[in-house]
Each structure stands twice: as structure tokens, then as C-alpha cells.
């Protein structure tokens, strides 16, 4: 059997040798591995990688590395020394590289489902300092806003309570600016008192304080605000323990009192039945969420206010999270275009109305007011009083031409055009100069 097998191999080799000679005559370059088993008709027990078919075939090999003829026997190129048999194909290597693509996609999928676990505030220790943590709770204080010197952003700070403890959350200029720019009523980005928030950031833990610094605007999410309508009478008559603090409520009524303080705007809203509720809008909320209707609303206007309940001294007050939740139902102010001469000739007709004076000239100035007239030679003047914070971009110099928008009201024994803050009232240079 062994003899038959070796004779068979000899026959096969002779056949293969003949075939190779034909190929060589045609000028083909051959490499042992390029000669298929079918062509050689080799027995399957023979190791193709270690056998050469014929001595003539050996002489016709080309090195796959340097592409030069191999003129000696053996499995190494005599020119470059490359192994002619033990080789790895580039296509095989390329195929194995595809596994990296799969791994990459798997890691992306993993990233999409990876979340930072929520940490109870009372479990934070000094070892957690500078770590990235996540907490979930209710904003328990009105946010503070410390504007930077450039006036377009600043530091936002608020407290969050998760029932195990309280922590101070801060965001600095760049992140705060992103919150301000992206804040809308449907997608709030500025947290307000009473909001349920999910916040992540770098923990700043010391022996005396705990805080989180938000590094990205994606690290803060605010739960949808659900306000429950509540009668003003309920709020007015409730005791300190009758209502739950930080409950989100909505009221409607008429403004009966409005006070502008340096830190807030306070309004009393009445239901028409003798009950009133205090709506307290901090200046920080106005700075963060915009002016809205806060300044344009007046005593007598109907308003709707949404906010969180907070007990203050001896009564409940409603603190809106955003000025967008304070809606004044009064008609927008319409300015009546007129001249100084006509205005002063019809003072009663214009009493309490908003007026607009175009291209009038400043004829005199005092510390808080200035006089305007239709022209330098006109004998009729009217006093213009610019309230604190009102828009006045025109230089207060005699001879300056200005456009004035304000409300015409009596003052003492005279009349004045009052420019109010937070409204469309303004004093600007006429013609833009």
C-alpha cells in the first residue's frame, strides 16, 4: 500500500511537471502556492507549503516580496531573504481589520446606554471631591445670578434638595450663556424654585460645603412643569401648614398693587372677590429668562401667573420660575405720535396716554430731567423724566435731536413725559446720530 501510494505520487509529480513545463513555455511566472491542487493533482496528504513540484518549477519562481526571480532552491529568496512559503495575505489582514469597525459600533451603542448613577446627597464624602456625580431633586431656592462684567452671562447658582440633603449647584459663564440662549417655555433650561431637576457635574466637596459644578448644558434636565390652577382665595386664607411649599400653581386676576424693588418686582393680584395673592418675581429670574410682561404690566391689568408656592413671613407668595409664566393680558402699548406744541395744548386729552415725540431738540437739562421742544426757537417745552433703568441712549446735551417715547403724566404743578424701565419707552438720538 505504501509502495502504491508513493508510485501514485511519482505519477502525479510527473504529470504536474509536464503541466508546469507548458506554463513555463508560455512565459508565466509561477509561485508554488499559485499552482492549484487540481492542476498538480497532488495527494492530499502531501503538505503543499513544504513541497515543490519539480526542479524546473523551482528555477522559475518569483519572489512575492521583491518581485525578482529566485534562482536557488529552498524557501527563501536569495536576493532579499524573504520567505516564499510562510506568508500572510494582505486581503486576509484587511478582513481581520473589519472587526475593529464592529467593536467601534458596539462601543457607540454602549455609550448611548451608559448613564452616571444617581448619588444621594447624604452619601457624598470628601473622597468624592472632583468626581463626576449625578443627583436628582427639587430646586429649593430662587436661583442666584451673578452677572459678569461683560453683561451677557455670569454665574448661576441654586440649591437642590433630594430629601436626603441639600447641595449647591453652579454653572459658570459659558454654560450659563447656553442655558439662557436655549431657554424656552416648552423646553426650559433655566431651573426655577420648585423644579425637579436631574443634574450632573463635578463635585466640589469640602469639610464645610458641598457643591456641583455643571460643565455642559447637557448635564442639566428639568422635568416638565405641571401647574395646578388654584383659587386666589385658597392661597390668601391658607395657613403656613395648609399648603405644601414648592407646589406649582397657576392663578389669574387683576393687579391691584405693583412695587419695583432693586431685588424683585412684587405684585398683588386680586380675584375680584376681595382676596389677593402676592406674586414675587426676583430680579435674577428677570435677568435669566427675560423681561417678558413684568415691567409693562400696570395696576388694573389682568394677569395670569404660574409659579411655586413659598411661605414668606405671614403669607404665601407665588414665585415664577420664568417670566414667560407671567402673562399680562393688557393690550400692547400704542404710542400716539404728536408734537410738543400739540401735547402741551391738549394736556388733559393726553393725560395718562403714551406719546411719541419725533425729532425734538433738547433745550435744557437738570440732574434728572431735560426739556425738549419742537425746535430751538419754539417757546413750548415739555419735561422728560428718565426713570432708573429706562432706555436712554441719547446724550443729554442742549441742541441734541432726539426721539422720545413715554407716558404723559402730571407732576406737581406741571406735566412730564415719563420714560419707564422695562417697557418700550425710550429716548434715542433722532435719525440714529
Amino acid at each position: 500500500m505504501a509502495e502504491d501510494s508513493s508510485r501514485l505520487q511519482e505519477v502525479n509529480r510527473e504529470e504536474a511537471k509536464e503541466k508546469l513545463k507548458d506554463k513555463l513555455a508560455e512565459g508565466q511566472k509561477l509561485f508554488p502556492q499559485e499552482v492549484t491542487k487540481e492542476e498538480l493533482k497532488l495527494d492530499s496528504t502531501i503538505n503543499m507549503e513544504s513541497q515543490f513540484v519539480a526542479s524546473e518549477a523551482v528555477l522559475a519562481r518569483v519572489c512575492p516580496s521583491c518581485d525578482e526571480p529566485v534562482t536557488v532552491e529552498g524557501d527563501k529568496c536569495n536576493r532579499c531573504g524573504a520567505n516564499l512559503v510562510t506568508r500572510r495575505t494582505i486581503s486576509g489582514i484587511s478582513l481581520s481589520a473589519c472587526s475593529l469597525l464592529v467593536v467601534g459600533i458596539l462601543f457607540l451603542a454602549l455609550a448611548s446606554v451608559t448613564t452616571t448613577p444617581i448619588t444621594p446627597i447624604d452619601s457624598l464624602t470628601l473622597d468624592d471631591n472632583y468626581k463626576h456625580i449625578r443627583i436628582k431633586g427639587v430646586v429649593s431656592s430662587v436661583p442666584d445670578f451673578y452677572m459678569d462684567k461683560y453683561g451677557y452671562s455670569g454665574t448661576l447658582r441654586f440649591e437642590v434638595n433630594d430629601t436626603t440633603g441639600e447641595i449647591t449647584v453652579r454653572s459658570y459663564t459659558i454654560v450659563t450663556k447656553r442655558f439662557i440662549d436655549k431657554d424656552t417655555l416648552d423646553n426650559p433650561r433655566i431651573p426655577g424654585i420648585g423644579d425637579t431637576v436631574d443634574v450632573q457635574g463635578q463635585a466640589i466637596i469640602s469639610e464645610t460645603s458641598q457643591g456641583i459644578t455643571i460643565k455642559s448644558e447637557r448635564d442639566l434636565s428639568i422635568s416638565k412643569r405641571e401647574y395646578q390652577p388654584m383659587a386666589i382665595s385658597v392661597i390668601d386664607t391658607a395657613g403656613q401648614y395648609s399648603l405644601t411649599p414648592l407646589t406649582l400653581v397657576e392663578i389669574s386676576g387683576k393687579i391691584i398693587k405693583k412695587s419695583n424693588y432693586t431685588s424683585a418686582v412684587s405684585l398683588y393680584v386680586e380675584d375680584g372677590k376681595g382676596h389677593s395673592a402676592n406674586v414675587y418675581i426676583p430680579v435674577s429670574v428677570i435677568q435669566l429668562t427675560g423681561v417678558g410682561d413684568v415691567y409693562r404690566c400696570r395696576v388694573g391689568d389682568n394677569v395670569t401667573a404660574r409659579g411655586a408656592l413659598e411661605w414668606y413671613k405671614d403669607h404665601w407668595e407665588i414665585i415664577p420660575q420664568t417670566t414667560k409664566n407671567f402673562i399680562c393680558h393688557a393690550e400692547p402699548i400704542v404710542y400716539n405720535k404728536t408734537t410738543v406744541t400739540e401735547l402741551m395744548a391738549n394736556v388733559q386729552a393726553y393725560n395718562g396716554k403714551h406719546v411719541e415725540l419725533t425729532n425734538v431738540v433738547i433745550t435744557g437739562t437738570t440732574t434728572y430731567t431735560f426739556l425738549v421742544a419742537d425746535s430751538e426757537t419754539s417757546p413750548v417745552n415739555v419735561t422728560v423724566y428718565v426713570a432708573y433703568g429706562a432706555t436712554c441712549t441719547a446724550p443729554k446735551t442742549v441742541g441734541q435731536r432726539v426721539n422720545v417715547r413715554g407716558i404723559f403724566v402730571p407732576y406737581g404743578n406741571s406735566w412730564e413725559v415719563k420714560i419707564e424701565a422695562g417697557t418700550d419707552d425710550q429716548v434715542v438720538p433722532a435719525g440714529g446720530n
Binding site: 525578482e68 520567505n83 506568508r87 495575505t89 455609550a111 451608559t114 463626576h132
Partner: protein, 443 residues
């Protein structure tokens, strides 16, 4: 969906970075960190509006692409002179045999295995790295000191003293070692000056070491290219590479060891780490050396970034991590996974780019002499350094170039120039840096 869109944007920027690195691969001795520095400067005005992960992805893409593709310029466009070509640089040997494409693929195999290490081993062994950092931190200066000692001592013996008289034989034996030691010494002084008294403009301070590194390593290589009389023979694009599985595993193993070491220990770069790993694993074969180099380089550059993003470690090692740290601090596991995904996907694309670019360079070299490419690269380097660091940086570049020419001309080990960062960092970590700087009159 918003999350998927965000991830897709990240990956696209990473791939863009890989494409940018293709341009780098044609320019010998130009480092990815030179280009990445520009990306940082370009991003800073938009910090308020652009997601910081976007430039991070771009920079990672450039680095992954560079780590894979830098072998192109090294294999095709770094010409050793005829006296050392077969002694020192296996890739130069391959180039002269017309097998540079094969050498490139071998290096690419090493890079692929390096990619597998970075995307699979680092995430799985994260706690190990944290423990290692905590244990080794107090002893880092010692480790760097040992690296320096090994690097100097491993150059001996070199020449065997051929000469008629004992003095001639003594000189012959020391003719390359002395310049090497001198280079190490003077590079150390150079490094101390840069660390303690640099006069690079303040707005480019984050790139203060770049002119020195480029001058010490890139300029001499390009000058040697320009004065070399060698011609590159016709290159063959092989369909297979001469490598057994054993050689691939041993070579990449050594490369991974060296790269992991270099990505972890401050101041140690891929070169000395690869050398140490080669000694440690008793490497003898050119193929293993090339594969090892590819793996080591990839793990050094990209592994350092992965370790930077590793939660709990956040190790700031390597130029890229330091530059990212200027505007971004990674914090979450999600960011780490996104980084690993970017490395894997960009690495996959970079490997295929490597094969394509290698073919492209072969075609290019048939038309354009490598000396012209080297000249363009030299001019480009000067322009980049001048643009980034001003005339002050250019001056540092020239000084570095002159120092770097010493080992090049005297056939000493060019790695001695690494003393420019090894020595100052070792002294600083030992706590005596300011003292030594004071002795030198720098403080």
C-alpha cells in the same frame, strides 16, 4: 435620535481627522501635534458655541491616522546614509530591496494589534491602570532615571576599536559613543533652558517644547535626506507579507509592552520604550522589529489618549492629552466609550488608508525625487514653527537642529536627544528641578 445624531457627528469629525493625517503622512518628520496645535488655536474663539467633543474627536482622528500612517514617511522618505543603512534601520533595508510596501503593511499589522489593545484591553483593565498609577506615582522619577541609564548603557559596546595603535583603537571604540554622550548632556541643558527659561511667546506656551523636538529630530533627518547620495529603487506592491504568526505575535507583543510603558510613564516616548521592549523580549528579526515599531507607536500615541479619558485615571500624558486638557476635562464613562469607538472606527479606516497611501507614495516617488519632498518638508516645518511660535521658536528650532546633527553625523544614537524632555522631567519629579535650574542660573 438626538444622541445618535450627536455620535454620528463625532465620528465624522474623527474620520475627517484621519483624512487630514493622510496629508501629514507625505511630509517626512512633520508631527501630528504640530497640526493639532493649530486645531486648538482655531477652536479657542468658538469655545462658547461649539461642543468641545467635536475638536477632541478631530484631534483624536488626526492622532490615530498619524499613528498608523506615519510609517509611510518613515519607510519611504527617511533615507539613512550607506554606512548605517543595514545596521540600524530595517525599514531602510526593505526600501532598498524594493519592499517598502511590505514594510508598511508589517507596520500596519503592528498598528492593528495596537488598536485591538487600546480598544479592548484598556477598557477591560481600567481598574488595573488606576492601581498602577496610585502605586507607581511616587517612584516615577526613579523609573525615568532607570530609563535614562538603560538608554545610555545599551549603546555599549558599539565599535570594536580598529586601529594600529592602542590610542587609535581607543578612539575608534569611543568615536560614536562620545558624541552620543555629549548629545545627551547638551540636550539635557537645552531641555532645562526650555523648561525654565523659555522665550517662546506666552500665547504659544502650550507648544513651547515643539520647536525643540522638531529641531532635534525632524531637521537632521531631512538634512541627511538632502545630502544623501542614495537613490530609491523601484518598489514592488506585494500581495502578501513575509511574516509567520509567531513573528507577528512576538513582534506585536514587544510593541504593546513598549507602547503601554511609554503611554504610562511621563517623558518616555515610543523610541526608548520600543528599544527596551525589544531587549526585554530578545527581538532579533527585522520583521518583528517593524511590527513592534508599528504597535509601539500606535499604543504610545493613542493609548495615552485612551488613558486620558479613562474614568478614575484621567492621566494627562502625551502632547495630545495635554492639548485637549487646555479646554476640556473628560469626566464620564460615556465620553470614554465614545473615544474608544472613535479610535476603533478611525483605526479601521486608517489601515485601509495606509494601503492606499503606500501605493500612492510609490507612484509619487517614481515621478518626484525624494530630495524635493524633503526640501518641501523642511520649508514647511520652518513655516509651521514660525507661525506657531514666532521667531523665538524658530531660533530654538535651529539650535535643536544643530544639536540633532551631532548624532546624525557621528553615527550615534539619535535617541540621546530625548534628554531634552527626559532630564528636566526626571529632575522635576524628583523635586530637585528648581535647585538644578538655580545652579544653572535659570532661576
Amino acid at each position: 435620535m438626538a444622541v445618535l445624531e450627536t455620535y454620528l457627528i463625532y465620528m465624522l469629525y474623527a474620520l475627517l481627522g484621519a483624512l487630514i493625517s493622510v496629508g501629514l503622512s507625505f511630509i517626512p518628520s512633520l508631527h501630528a501635534y504640530n497640526v493639532v496645535g493649530f486645531a486648538v488655536v482655531a477652536y479657542l474663539p468658538f469655545m462658547d458655541t461649539v461642543d468641545p467633543m467635536i475638536p477632541v474627536m478631530l484631534m483624536i482622528g488626526i492622532t490615530v491616522g498619524y499613528a498608523t500612517l506615519s510609517t509611510i514617511s518613515f519607510n519611504y522618505l527617511t533615507i539613512a546614509d550607506d554606512s548605517i543603512i543595514f545596521y540600524v534601520l530595517p525599514t531602510s533595508k526593505y526600501l532598498m530591496q524594493g519592499r517598502a510596501h511590505e514594510a508598511t503593511v508589517l507596520s500596519g499589522i503592528g498598528a492593528l494589534i495596537g488598536m485591538a489593545y487600546v480598544v479592548l484591553v484598556i477598557p477591560l483593565c481600567a481598574p488595573v491602570f488606576v492601581i498602577l498609577r496610585n502605586v507607581l506615582s511616587p517612584f516615577m522619577f526613579l523609573i525615568i532615571g532607570f530609563v535614562i541609564c538603560f538608554y545610555i548603557l545599551s549603546e555599549w559596546p558599539k565599535d570594536f576599536g580598529v586601529g594600529k595603535t592602542p590610542l587609535q583603537r581607543l578612539w575608534d571604540g569611543w568615536s560614536t559613543l562620545l558624541p552620543g554622550l555629549f548629545t545627551f548632556f547638551i540636550s539635557s541643558i537645552f531641555g532645562m533652558i526650555i523648561f525654565y527659561k523659555t522665550f517662546v511667546p506666552l500665547n504659544a506656551a502650550f507648544q513651547s517644547i515643539m520647536p525643540a523636538i522638531v529641531g532635534l529630530f525632524a531637521v537632521p533627518s531631512l538634512v541627511i535626506n538632502l545630502i544623501s547620495k542614495m537613490n530609491i529603487p523601484k518598489q514592488h506592491i506585494a500581495k502578501s507579507v513575509d511574516a509567520s504568526w509567531e513573528q507577528i505575535l512576538r513582534g506585536s507583543g514587544a510593541g504593546l509592552l513598549g507602547g503601554a510603558f511609554a503611554s504610562f510613564v511621563p517623558a518616555v516616548t515610543a523610541g526608548p520604550a520600543s528599544l527596551m521592549a525589544g531587549h526585554f523580549t530578545a527581538q532579533r528579526s527585522d520583521r518583528m522589529f517593524i511590527i513592534s515599531g508599528g504597535a509601539c507607536r500606535f499604543v504610545y500615541y493613542v493609548g495615552a489618549v485612551a488613558l486620558f479619558f479613562l474614568p478614575g485615571l484621567n492621566k494627562s500624558k502625551g502632547g495630545l492629552a495635554i492639548m485637549i486638557n487646555l479646554f476640556f476635562v473628560p469626566e464620564t464613562t460615556e465620553q470614554f466609550y465614545i473615544t474608544i469607538a472613535a479610535i476603533a472606527i478611525t483605526g479601521f479606516v486608517s489601515f485601509f488608508l495606509l494601503l492606499l497611501v503606500s501605493r500612492g507614495v510609490i507612484k509619487l516617488l517614481e515621478v518626484v525625487n525624494y530630495k524635493y519632498i524633503s526640501l518641501v518638508a523642511l520649508v514647511l516645518i520652518f513655516i509651521i514653527v514660525a507661525a506657531m511660535t514666532g521667531w523665538q521658536g524658530t531660533l530654538i528650532l535651529i539650535v535643536g537642529g544643530l544639536i540633532g546633527m551631532i548624532p546624525a553625523l557621528f553615527h550615534a544614537r539619535r535617541g540621546n536627544c530625548l534628554a531634552v524632555i527626559l532630564t528636566p522631567i526626571m529632575l522635576n519629579m524628583a523635586g530637585v528641578g528648581p535647585t538644578v535650574a538655580g545652579w544653572m542660573g535659570l532661576l
